[in-house]
Subunit: 389 residues, 4 copies
């Protein structure tokens, strides 16, 4: 089947040139939920582009009768971030104009909602579907009021125009999937909101960070946070509901790369997730292993990041994927001197046990530069996994 | 008199070199409050360096008997930000490593305080001085617990080390003055916290932005916010106190410049403020005009910023300091085209009356780039001022 | 009259977006020479955009019978450089990918010519027009061979694709005008090649830098150098000819600005130059003052640039346009210390007499940063000029 | 034995802070030649720092009697380049202030020499040692005249101060070794000047680029070029001499890394080279394989670099070290669209046979971005090598 392809201008540059985002919309024969999938919000995080490319090719091969609902795909969704270069590297994590992290700019309804608990109270006698529709309507109405400022002669900063474009496409979706990867070098995992652990399995990844803390500025958070707030409010009023709304960030390996294994996992995970949600009718899916698939969940505040305690060069670092005991030597810092002394080697021990899931690409470190990240936990927790690098 | 000069290493770089901050401490003969004055936290905002240089020279010319309390001065307080260059320009507004705005990194006790109202309750029978001492002790104790993370093998990001150094010097001060200027081109004004309007006069500046909103991440906010919270809590409990604690950000003109008029205003204002606080015993100070000096206060949420609504080049912009009627043409955007059309001129009208207090240095604008800022208000409010540019 | 408008893609970005240049071609009724005018090759140098915009509007108001030959105009000619930002500043002087200065990338036929003197010898019996045609043909043939590499699977660096696009438009022009301005803050002047001094007058600017040295990498040089080489070679062979080929760089004031006075001078100068060349038939032009206009020529190697001899902040700098005696204090460096000493003031004297024609925008200087530029010469040489800033 | 450690300030920053280089000088008991070894001239190229660190430790373990002549080592030789960051990456290939490539700034005596052939003529009756001494003296005298400009009130750009510092240390050395690596990801190889092929063997690397073209701006070139010119001139006059002067650039693997294998090769190669030159008396060295070691020399103009012919994402790239036939698919470009079309895959074939010796780190490419480099040549030339990645 062929998608509808929509091209949307997002910015006119000083030179008069314009940059665009392009949406591929696959509309199924059968009415149903909406899935929204984007990639490359951070300039260096390109693996998701290959995932979306393969999904577009895959969906083109289907018949419209095999799709329930609609699937929207937006690869290379952030032209300003993607095309930014500093020397040969993709420096598009934050906007070079104002330093804003491209994934901390989004609009969170909950921050502007006057009284969610009052709304919840007003809905207790309605069906989940009715409540979902009513709430969605309120969110969208409030959201589209942003246009007033955007269209005023006084304008808004680019990040506010840009977020409006992306959220216009995604805010009414049931399932949002934002494909990221490490800025540096990382394992494949996903971010999962509290209460959606069961759904997370369908992505067939080994690890998930459980979002026990979030502020609503990231793309996944902005979409999900108001719904979790409403669910909580309804539960308090004795009406526990889980809405058909989910939001995911997939982390697919290493930055500035499209690692084939990470890409393959991304494609298979999203196909399986959509099949599990009933949106794709394809042979063999959802895969039989879905229900038995075991995900290791790590609480977000159980991540430990290491930063250089002195300036220097990193050597003998334990590889990505290593399971650690407390006290293991994580890496050495070869620290040079400018006061007439010799260079020295500093051994850096692990402050607790865990698994190395992300490491820096750059082995040259100013004091305070990022070195690596650890899922905290006893080795047994991570022991069953085999890494083949 | 001679100050004590202390040199503090703040970072070891990858090359092994170290960068420092240097504190000039003038200790008066008479015990009294502590004033802390710094400059150049943002790399482009250099006017305060000349102010502090002149204050150092001025204080050297005094006798220790003329100073009550102690005055600490830290010019060029952010080496990483100051020395950063992009082409010929000072690009040090945010850290080139992680995009963090150098003035949105600070530690705010209130965010970690478990229960300020409980503390307030426990102090209602004490004198203001006792409460101030007790609260200060609690804040400092909590603050110095940050050392545990800083000294751990896992380290902390540079901005967290750096803020610890600056706040170690300033957190026990009664009066904190942070000298900024516009990143672009601006008038001279200051930021003033609610309830400190009377003190603001002593700086003898024409405008003040009244901080009716703040989140505690800026340097002035981080120092002041916990005290305002305690004052509010005590007031609720029927014990209104204004502690001898104040925090100020001075905005001294245009970025990448040390405009002599702005510098002179900064020096005179700080001398007068310190004299008013009884810290300087110098002839003629506080200046007689201090009490009658009229400051125009503008609420922080009554600032309107303009951003380019299209890409292009700015022409015929009204000058800095212009008082506006609604609908006045603020500037034109000469917008070029890349689709076979002619360039066009877009007139941009003022959406409300006010005073232009800040304008961009760069007349080339991508859509969403910053153009200028306005204090909203009727022309009469600003009518008496004369600008001589 | 209406121009032909041509839109040319110059690059596809990683995101799939494309950037363009757009040419406005005014074709006169009468055959004649070709003039090529561009602006904003360096990102910060925007004044020429307003010049070209006004020229487009002016030419639209003419009748095709008033134009002899054709006039091509390319405003905002370097999208990658123009849209580049570092913080609020236009950092587009060099390509952020490889550090190449956008105006040191051009193709110079002379560097590839096997034997110009042999060619000259072969042409001594032909008319200047014939020689000009023959040489042009050779240059263009060689130039278009660059396509082989550009079209190969191995590709070429972006700067080589880009220069090919710009030079494709301009290499057959008789008169090339490249509108620049200072990266920093500067007077209005132009660059003039040896032997074209008489033509320079028509621009009605007060100063010209006489290019007694050039290497062919700049846009004006790349166009002109092969012709000067041929002229020299023919002269050696007893056939002095001045071809109807000229190439100019106009420097129109301050960077990141479109100063109205600089823009007006640019517009008037180009109109007058084209009228003088017989391309424009407009009342009153060439202006009567053209022949008597006196230009102060300064040899390129008689420019003195000053760089900071220590790190610090600049104060009390003499203003742009000042005529100097040797030993005059040009500026002071307020140099801070990090070894326990006081800040100090360094006076920087002029090492010879002259005129300040360019000054840095940024008063914060690392050791070795640029401060200002001087046309060397006795004060009498510059004495007659009045500056009104 | 202990080295003499000298710390040399190279720049005072705007903040007043200073950066340094530090030289470790091992002076042998026996008079002899001088070797100069530096690393990290380009900010991302850090492998040489580990090499020099290990050499310092190794030399400390020797007795002064084991060293003939003197060995100077300068790790982390370019603080401004090394500490530069753009996001998490080391962007120090060119100076962020003026775009100058840190390894294209050096002073080449030949460019200023008035007449080397005249000098050669004047020396034909002297011994090689005498000529070498006389020439060295002339070079150094001319070089130190640069101080006049450096010390003048007008100053010089930072790169000119900096090159003066580095060349002051190295210009009188017999053997200069500059440790680089790829900005991206590369094999281990070295640059070798014409006529020094025999000496190159001692580094025990598999590949060498033979410098049949050079302009004297790189560090190795600036040291070597005047000597090659003199040798050529003397040869013309019938006095073929090879002076005891050599200059090398080692390329040690991948940027932003200190790959242990590359480091080990660097250490062993330099030890062996110094032993071969008679400067180190250590058991087993020079290694027996030195004379039989076979180096594959590739002419500098037989390197082919590939650049993206469209914007897009790179996939299925052949790995570093692959030996190619003409027409082999080197990589695919996944090119996205913003005009309503589908993404497409572009296959990029090899335009000639050869060996992939360098590949980009970043798989996201604007049109014209660098992809990979090839040593051109028939597969048989490279066939014997085994790569184990």
């Amino acid at each position: 089947m062929l998608p509808i392809i929509e091209t949307i201008p997002i910015v006119q540059l000083a030179s008069g040139d314009r940059l665009f985002i392009q949406v591929y919309k696959f509309l199924g024969d059968n009415p149903g939920p909406k899935a929204y999938i984007q990639s490359n919000l951070h300039g260096a995080e390109i693996a998701g582009n290959a995932v979306i490319h393969q999904l577009i090719e895959f969906l083109q091969g289907l018949d419209a009768s095999q799709i329930t609902g609609e699937i929207w795909l937006v690869p290379v969704c952030n032209p300003l971030g993607i095309n930014q270069r500093s020397q040969h590297f993709s420096s598009g994590r934050y906007h070079s104009y104002d330093g804003k992290d491209w994934n901390r700019i989004f609009w969170d309804y909950e921050k502007e909602a006057t009284d969610i608990s009052q709304f919840a109270e007003s809905q207790v006698n309605l069906s989940p579907e009715e409540i979902q529709d009513n709430y969605r309507e309120i969110i969208l109405k409030k959201f589209h009021q942003l246009q007033t400022d955007i269209n005023a002669a006084s304008g808004v900063p680019f990040v506010e125009q840009y977020r409006y474009q992306l959220q216009s496409l995604s805010l009414d979706a049931n399932y949002v999937i934002d494909c990221h990867s490490s800025t540096n070098q990382g394992l494949d995992y996903l971010y999962c909101f509290n209460s959606r652990e069961e759904s997370a399995k369908a992505f067939l990844l080994d690890y998930a960070i459980l979002m026990n803390e979030y502020d609503g500025d990231a793309f996944d958070e902005a979409g999900m946070k108001p719904w979790l707030a409403l669910e909580k409010s309804l539960a308090k009023q004795g009406k526990p509901i889980q809405f058909d709304v989910e939001s995911w960030t997939l982390e697919l390996g290493t930055g500035m790369q499209m690692n084939p294994q990470s890409v393959a996992k991304g494609v298979r995970g999203i196909q399986n997730y959509l099949a599990k949600k009933g949106m794709l009718d394809i042979p063999g899916f959802p895969l039989p292993e879905t229900t038995s698939h075991s995900v290791i969940f790590i609480l977000k505040n159980r991540i430990r990041k290491y930063y250089a305690t002195a300036g220097g060069m990193i050597q003998n670092r334990l590889p990505l994927g290593t399971v650690l005991q407390k006290g293991d030597c994580l890496y050495q810092l070869l620290s040079f001197d400018k006061t007439g002394q010799f260079p020295k080697i500093i051994d850096v021990p692990a402050v607790e046990p865990g698994l190395i899931f992300d490491v820096c690409t750059n082995y040259s470190a100013n004091q305070g530069d990022y070195i690596l990240s650890i899922f905290q936990g006893e080795p047994e927790k991570f022991g069953k996994i085999n890494f083949d690098f």
